[in-house]
């Protein structure tokens, strides 16, 4: 019960934040992909930097555990590019499509229906191939610090520096 209420409340706050900062808009999403409007990239970078500091601080205190997905270079790369192609056509990703529907965008709803069909298509093809053609580069559930044998904070500081540099460039070029 508590988990369900938390899910709804967390989603609602996230929905308000995305709606108010306009990252749900088709124009903002395509703006980023056309490298003309970096609103969604700024949003993502600051979420990632703050999130990584919080998560690793909490991890150090033993209050959370990580939930790392497997790295399979083949499927991550090929699936990622297929996703990107669809993203540019639709103009929303799965989470922002739901939010865009909330602010009245009908094309996002049709995109969500397409997503259900895309998932069915994936499930239909899955048993024949098990995606073996693309399943190369299976490294397992690794993090960058774990893989390279370094501490996490050097990565987080690096991430923050890169994010700050990018955002400085965005602001200077009015993107």
């Amino acid at each position: 019960m508590f988990v369900s209420i938390m899910a709804l409340v967390t989603g609602a706050v996230f929905g308000v934040l995305m709606q108010r900062s306009e990252v749900l808009r088709y124009d903002r999403q395509l703006g980023a992909l056309l490298l003309e409007d970096m609103t969604i990239v700024k949003f993502m970078l600051s979420a990632i930097v703050v999130g990584s500091v919080c998560i690793y601080a909490l991890l150090g205190m033993g209050l959370v555990s990580l939930s790392v997905k497997s790295t399979v270079l083949g499927t991550n790369l090929v699936g990622g590019v297929v996703f990107g192609i669809g993203w540019a056509l639709l103009g929303y990703c799965p989470g922002t499509a739901v939010g865009a529907l909330g602010e009245g965008r009908v094309d996002a709803l049709v995109g969500m229906i397409g997503m259900v069909f895309g998932a069915v298509l994936f499930a239909e093809l899955y048993p024949f191939t098990k995606l073996s053609l693309f399943s190369w580069g299976n490294i397992g559930k690794v993090t960058m610090p774990g893989f390279t044998g370094t501490g996490p904070w050097i990565w987080i500081v690096g991430l923050a520096v890169v994010a700050a540099g990018l955002c400085f460039l965005f602001e200077r070029n009015d993107l």
Partner: protein, 173 residues
């Protein structure tokens, strides 16, 4: 209907992003749940197939792994919908729209063309996300903030595919 002009100034994306980062951390502390969105569309696909033919649904390994469930992520998406609906209604930016402005400037106001493209895009989005094991929420936000390698690789691939396709659609601007 078109109350765009009444809309308030947008919230600063850095601030909204920073609060989002804290929100993920809060969610993980309270319930152990990281953000993600695309698994729910797979579970919805399982529900659809099982509605049409339960036997066929049971034969699909992927849907046996991801059966329909009202789980944390589905409720999280319901929350996003409600939050966006409330927020846009309150600040006057809610309006029913089929063809986004940028699209209309390039391809005109033909509804069927926009909806066909949106549907096709949705198919590729879900296929790609399930293949990659996540979307910009699961890999991009949750994955990268945990410094997971799959997050960095997938996020880069999302943008490579997206930037290339956006260039093809809109050309040089």
């Amino acid at each position: 209907m078109y109350s765009f002009e009444k809309g308030q100034r947008p919230l600063n994306p850095y601030l909204a992003g920073a609060i989002t980062g804290g929100l993920v951390a809060l969610s993980v502390v309270a319930t152990g749940k990281f953000f993600g969105a695309s698994t729910t569309f797979a579970r919805a696909g399982a529900a659809l197939v099982n509605m049409i033919s339960p036997e066929h649904g049971a034969s699909l390994d992927y849907f046996v792994r991801y059966p329909f469930a009202v789980d944390w992520q589905l409720l999280f998406l319901v929350g996003i919908f409600v939050g966006s609906l409330l927020s846009s209604t309150v600040n006057g930016t809610f309006f029913i729209d089929v063809v986004p402005e940028l699209w209309r400037e390039r391809f005109g106001a033909r509804t069927w063309l926009r909806l066909f493209t949106a549907f096709l895009g949705g198919v590729l989005v879900a296929f790609g996300a399930r293949m990659a094991g996540g979307c910009p929420s699961g890999h991009g936000l949750s994955g990268v903030m945990q410094l997971s390698m799959s997050g960095f690789v997938s996020l880069a691939a999302f943008f490579v595919g997206g930037v290339a396709m956006a260039r093809i659609i809109y050309g040089r601007s």
